[in-house]
């Protein structure tokens, strides 16, 4: 069970970079943990901290106005590269509830939805407008992401809608466990396995590679 997401109002942090890969979100030296927790301090580690361990004052998330931000505004193709879900765990643990981007990498998008982190796809010009508004406000900028209504609103005139597949929306709204949902149709899995055995004398994957498999 992850934390449900219906609507959320929070401060925006802006990271105007495209193609941010998951190696940047959580560098590999932090992937050795065997838990789902403890990744917050690793978030954007090599950007957030200098080699001597002190915070890098130039990095966007280290700006005073980004403190306590819960919504992240980024460039296109966010989360590309490695499939590491650790990236999403780190963003969640750091405090982010939603990410706004013109586009996301596929695996990252799926990983977000598994963890109650709402990936919001907006048009490139809308994202550009949000970057402008964030900058014009000196970084002091709030937004509401409403998943129930599929709407983003800054209360100051910026208002738009976004698309989300109904299935993912349901999961996020209710904090559903995908496994539990699939197990509700477990009989289908059994039937499929039997069907393949029967309809296909060659049988199901017998395992260990010894059988025929499709």
């Amino acid at each position: 069970m992850t934390e449900p997401f219906v609507r959320h109002t929070g401060r925006l942090a802006a990271l105007p970079r495209a193609n941010v890969d998951t190696d940047q979100i959580v560098p590999k030296q932090f992937l050795k943990r065997v838990e789902r927790t403890g990744f917050g301090p690793a978030l954007f580690h090599d950007w957030r901290f200098r080699p001597d361990g002190s915070p890098n004052p130039d990095f966007e998330l280290n700006q005073l106005t980004a403190r306590g931000a819960t919504i992240l505004l980024v460039g296109e193709n966010f989360g590309c590269g490695s499939s590491r879900e650790h990236a999403v765990w780190a963003l969640r643990e750091y405090g982010f509830r939603a990410i706004l981007a013109p586009s996301f990498a596929d695996i990252f998008f799926a990983n977000c939805c598994q963890n109650g982190l709402v990936p919001v796809r907006l048009l490139p010009q809308e994202i550009a407008e949000l970057f402008r508004r964030h900058q014009a406000a000196g970084g002091e900028y709030q937004l509401t992401v409403d998943l129930a209504e599929q709407r983003v609103d800054d209360g100051l005139g910026f208002r738009t809608t976004f698309a989300m597949e109904p299935y993912r929306r349901e999961m996020l709204l209710h904090g559903l466990d995908e496994i539990g949902r699939t197990l509700r149709v477990e009989d289908r899995i059994g039937a499929y396995e039997k069907g393949r055995e029967a309809g296909n004398p060659k049988g199901l994957p017998a395992g260990r590679g010894k059988g025929e498999t499709w």
């Binding site: 050795k32 838990e35 590309c80 496994i179 395992g207 260990r208």
Partner: protein
């Protein structure tokens, strides 16, 4: 019957259930597991009191953080050791086969799947690793998944996925001498960009693809993810069948004949349509070298480092400025002649036997340049053993390369094999992201012969002309 693509045939054969909201529940034939993305998934199963539904369809290996030095020595990094130990315990508790550090079959998960014959045409294959796309070279639908999905597959043997789009990448013509499958896929990524195939499964077609060996096809499919595609596929043919025949986990006897018969149906029907198309003439591809911090930042070796002003959008200009700063490169610098400090021959992209042979041909009778540290990390212990039978290890060690045990190694630098800050590396791996091979390290992706030649020359060279010069010194 309507004409269907290869992807559609495999998809349809695996739909267990169609959720009313649109997603499909897909049956998984082979689930590969490694030590880095699985511990949290097994922990989830334990907490929920769930079992692995089909342990026999699940195979585990260790690769990402294993040391590639002396296997007899204890693992120096206690945290890595804990992760390896966790996988051993999980494999035992849940009844999974594990190729551990002592196994002669251990290796990078995407190298050992095909090598053992576990990877077969028409399968749905998943692994908590984005380069699972590699297995698509056999006409399997193979994709990387996150850890929550790993847990889902362990528990249900199924994956929830909404049907992606299809993209045909048609490669005509033939590769010129000195140009490899790696150059082909880098050129394609350069053309369509790192998000060019997002939301799509790529099918590689055309005579240039048919002409590739199975190992070369794996190199191409491997980097589909660098073009944004979760999976890349190539229809099986006689080469696929010949590759799999006699592999330990491939079917045998009458079962083999039946399997081959089915595999022959696995191709896109004439008249079937794709959602997107891209075309590339292989004859026009030159050896490729990346200059930036994303695989799409690539140019022929004869090219120069671009200038931010060559790009149209603000975002691109910013990204290029940042990449050049990180890479320590000035606009207009020719790639050829750029001095390098390190060479890495390895990774699931380019550490199979043919890659090592090609690199060995380039270095035979020559020596690694003074001041350059070069290493060869075979993709699997079996590749390593094969190379040793062929004497390639001696070619490399006599030339001054380090000869190591199998693993991911400096492809991602989770083990002690890392670049120091500022070091420039010619690498046969697949990602040149900031810090990928070590914080501050500068990675130039290229083919095995190109990386081998760079090791000898001490700088980036064009293998096509360099090979013909008398061996320097």
């Amino acid at each position: 019957m309507t004409a269907r693509t290869l992807f559609e045939k495999v998809w349809v054969a695996h739909v267990v259930h169609q959720f009313p909201e649109g997603q499909a529940l897909l049956y998984v034939d082979l689930h590969l597991v490694h030590e880095v993305t699985s511990p949290q998934a097994f922990e989830g199963l334990r907490q929920a009191g769930r079992r692995v539904r089909r342990p026999a369809l699940t195979v585990a290996t260790v690769d990402h953080n294993v040391p590639t030095g002396d296997r007899a020595a204890p693992i120096a990094d206690p945290i890595a050791a804990r992760q390896l130990e966790a996988l051993a315990v999980n494999a035992r508790d849940f009844g999974l086969e594990l190729f551990d550090l002592r196994s002669p079959q251990q290796g990078i998960v995407h190298v050992i799947g095909p090598e053992l014959g576990l990877t077969q045409p028409g399968m749905v294959i998943v692994c908590g690793d984005s380069h699972t796309a590699t297995h698509g070279a056999f006409g399997a639908l193979a994709l990387g998944i996150g850890t929550s999905e790993v847990e889902h597959v362990l528990a249900t043997q199924c994956l929830v996925w909404s049907k992606p789009g299809t993209m045909e990448a048609r490669v005509t013509g033939g590769l010129a001498p000195g140009v490899t499958a790696k150059d082909l896929i880098l050129a394609l990524i350069g053309r369509i960009g790192t998000a060019g195939a997002t939301g799509h499964v790529i099918e590689y077609t055309g005579e240039a693809i048919r002409a590739l060996s199975m190992e070369e096809r794996m190199t191409v499919c491997n980097m589909s993810i660098e073009a944004g595609a979760r999976a890349g596929m190539i229809a099986p043919d006689e080469k696929t069948v010949a590759y799999l025949k006699g592999r330990p986990r491939a079917p045998s006897g009458a079962a083999w004949d039946r399997a081959v018969e089915r595999w022959r149906e696995l191709r896109t029907d004439p008249g079937a349509t794709y959602d997107k198309h891209v075309q590339l003439d292989a004859a026009e591809v030159a050896p490729q070298v990346t200059w930036g911090t994303s695989p799409g930042m690539v140019t022929p070796v004869t090219g120069c480092v671009p200038s931010p002003t060559d790009f149209t959008t603000d975002a691109e200009r910013r990204a290029v400025t940042r990449a050049l700063e990180y890479m320590g490169l000035a606009p207009g610098t020719p790639l050829e002649g750029l001095p390098i400090d390190r060479v890495f021959l390895g990774s699931c992209t380019n550490a199979r036997i043919e890659d090592l042979r090609a690199a060995a041909r380039t270095v035979r009778g020559r020596h690694v340049a003074t001041g350059v540290r070069a290493m060869v990390v075979p993709g699997s212990q079996q590749v390593k053993a094969q190379a040793e039978r062929e004497g390639l290890d001696r070619v490399f060690t006599e030339a001054g390369f380090e000869w190591r045990n199998a693993g991911c190694s400096m492809c991602l630098g989770m083990n002690p094999d890392v670049l120091q800050s500022g070091e420039r590396c010619a690498s046969t791996s697949n990602r040149n992201f900031e810090g990928r091979q070590g914080r501050g390290g500068r990675t130039h992706l290229m083919s095995p012969p190109m990386a081998a030649a760079a090791a000898v020359a001490g700088r980036i060279v064009d293998v096509r002309s360099w090979g013909r010069e008398p061996a320097a010194r």
